[in-house]
Amino acid sequence: MGEYSLINRRNFLKSAVIGSGGLLFLSSLPEKLLANTEKTTQITILHTNDVHSHIDPFPKNDPKYPNMGGAARRASLIEKIRSQEKNVLLLDAGDIFQGTPYFNKYGGELDFKLMSLMQYDVATIGNHDFDNGIEGLKNMLPHAHFPFVNCNYDFSQTILYNYILKYKLFEFEGLKIGVFGVGVELEGLVSKNLYGETKYIDPVLTVQQTATHLKKEEHCDLIICLSHLGYSYNENKISDIILAKNTKYIDAIIGGHTHTFLEKPTEIKNIEQKMTIINQVGWAGIFLGRIDFYLTNKKSDKYYRSSIA
C-alpha cells in the first residue's frame, strides 16, 4: 500500500490529543503508528459545497476572489489526486444551482455534466437546487451520473419520489462507508410553488435514525453526513453544530448553505462525548475540501489530524 510514503510526505503542524476511545487530534502521526501501517487503508474524501453554477473562475478584477475557482481547474486537481490515491470519494453538500447566467440559461445541465465528468460519487440537495422547481431538478437528473441523498425531505407526494436516496454505501478494501444527506427547512427560503409537496422533517431525529441504521444495520466503518443545514446561527436554529452535539455515530459532517470558510475543521463532542468534526469550504468552488481517513485493523482509537492551524 502506498499510504506509508504518503504520510511521510506530508508535514502536519498541530498537535492535541483529545482523549482515547473517540476521535483524536494529532499533529504528527506517531512513529509507532507509521511502523504499523501494513494494514492501513486510506480513504480520501474530497468535497465541495455551494458551487452555485460557478463554472468559470472569478474575473481577474474580482475584488474578493480574483481569478479563483473554475470547474476545469477543479477537474484537473481532482484528477491529480485520483492518480495519487487509490480510494477517493467525491462529495457535494448542495446548492449546485443558481448564481451565474450558466444556470439561468442551461438550468444546471452543464453543472451536472461537469460533476459527472469529475466523477462525483454522491451529492445532497440545497435550497437553491429547487430554484427551477422540483420539475427543474428532476429534468436535470439524467445529466447527473451520481445519486442524490437526503433523509429529511419527504418526496413521496412529488415527482422526485424514488429519485432521491436516503443514503449511499461505498466499499473500499472491505471497509464500508455510509454517506447520507440532510437539508434545510424550505418554508420561507424557497417559494412554495417551487418545492411543492416536498415535506420537511425535523433533522435531529431522522438524522439519528439514519446514522444508527448505517452503524447498526449496515455496519459502516465510517459515517459521513452531507448537510445543507448551515454551519451555525445566532438564533436557536438547527445547524451543523447543534446537529453534531445532539447525535452519535457521525464521524464527519460536510456542510454547506452558510458559505462558511472554515480555517480549520470544527471539533464537536457529540452526545456520547465522542468527536464529530464539521468541515465546510466556503462557496463557488474556490476551494476543494479534502479529508483523508486512515483505517487500520490495529487499534480501536480514531485519530484526527489537521494541517490547518
Partner: protein
C-alpha cells in the same frame, strides 16, 4: 468496533486538508486563503474545458449583446427615498404589465435590495441586466384590502422608501389620503415580485392576500424586453428623481 466479516477494529486518522487551486505538483497546506498565488500554474482540465466551451461561447455571445444605451448612469444606492435605478425598474415593470400585458395595476412596489448592481451610462449588455437581476423572480399582482395597503404604506414610510411606481407617496399627507390617491376600490392591485409577495424583505403585508395574479413574467425578462423595445425605437434609457416619495423634512 466490531465488524461482522473481518472482525477488525479500526483506527481512523483524519487529515483535513484544504487544497488551494494554486497547488502545483504536491499538496500545499495553508491556514489562509488569500495569500496564495493564483493561478497561471493551475492546469485546466482539457475534457472539462472541451465540455464547457460551447456552452460558454453561446452564453457569451448572448450576454455580450448590447440591448440598449443609457443616457445616464443609474447607480445602486442605499438609504435614499428614491433612486434613479429604483424608479427606472419600477416604472418599466409597471409599464410592461399595464401597457403590454393589459393587466390592471394600481401601484408597483419592488425592493432596493433586489437590484444587485449599478447600470452604467452608455451601452447596456444583456449580461449587465443579469447582474442587475440575477434572480428568477416573477412579477405578480397581489390583490389586497385597503387595510393591508395601509400596512404597506406604513412599511414604505418606515424603511425610508423603496422602488415604487403608479402613484406618488407624499408622506406629509395622511396614509388614508395616500391610499385614496392609489385607489378608492375595495381591492387594490399591487404589482411586485413573487419573492416579495411571499413576505421577502419583511413585506409581511403581502401575506394572506385577497388573491394573487401570476404574470409568468420574470422581472429580469421585463427589464430586457423594455431595453430592447426602447432601443428599437431609437430611445436611450432615462430615469429621473421626480419626488415620488416625500417625507417630512
Amino acid at each position: 468496533m466490531i465488524k461482522k466479516n473481518n472482525n477488525i477494529s479500526v483506527l481512523c486518522v483524519l487529515t483535513i486538508v484544504f487544497i488551494f487551486f494554486s497547488c502545483k505538483t504536491s499538496l500545499h497546506y495553508t491556514n489562509t486563503y488569500f495569500n496564495q498565488s493564483v493561478d497561471s500554474t493551475q492546469i485546466t482540465d482539457i475534457l472539462a474545458e472541451k465540455l464547457i466551451a460551447p456552452y460558454r461561447d453561446s452564453l457569451e455571445k448572448e450576454m455580450n449583446q448590447v440591448i440598449a444605451v443609457s443616457e445616464i448612469e443609474m447607480p445602486k444606492e442605499k438609504n435614499k427615498s428614491e433612486t434613479l435605478l429604483g424608479n427606472f425598474v419600477a416604472d418599466l415593470c409597471y409599464q410592461i404589465v399595464t401597457e403590454d400585458m393589459h393587466l390592471k395595476v394600481d401601484f408597483c412596489l419592488l425592493n432596493n435590495g433586489g437590484l444587485r448592481t449599478s447600470l452604467p451610462k452608455g451601452e447596456i449588455t444583456r449580461g449587465k441586466i443579469f447582474e442587475l437581476m440575477p434572480f428568477d423572480n416573477e412579477l405578480v399582482i397581489v390583490q389586497m384590502t385597503p387595510l393591508k395597503a395601509i400596512e404597506m404604506l406604513d412599511y414604505i414610510k418606515n424603511v425610508g422608501g423603496q422602488p415604487i411606481s403608479g402613484s406618488k407617496l407624499d408622506f406629509t399627507k395622511s396614509t388614508e389620503i395616500l391610499l385614496k390617491e392609489i385607489s378608492i376600490s375595495d381591492t387594490l392591485n399591487i404589482l411586485t415580485s413573487d419573492y416579495l409577495a411571499s413576505g421577502g424583505d419583511k413585506m409581511t403585508f403581502f401575506l394572506q392576500p385577497t388573491s394573487t395574479i401570476q404574470t409568468h413574467k420574470k422581472v429580469r425578462d421585463a427589464i430586457i424586453e423594455y431595453c430592447l423595445k426602447e432601443n428599437k425605437k431609437g430611445n436611450q434609457l432615462k430615469s429621473t428623481i421626480d419626488g415620488r416619495i416625500q417625507f417630512n423634512q
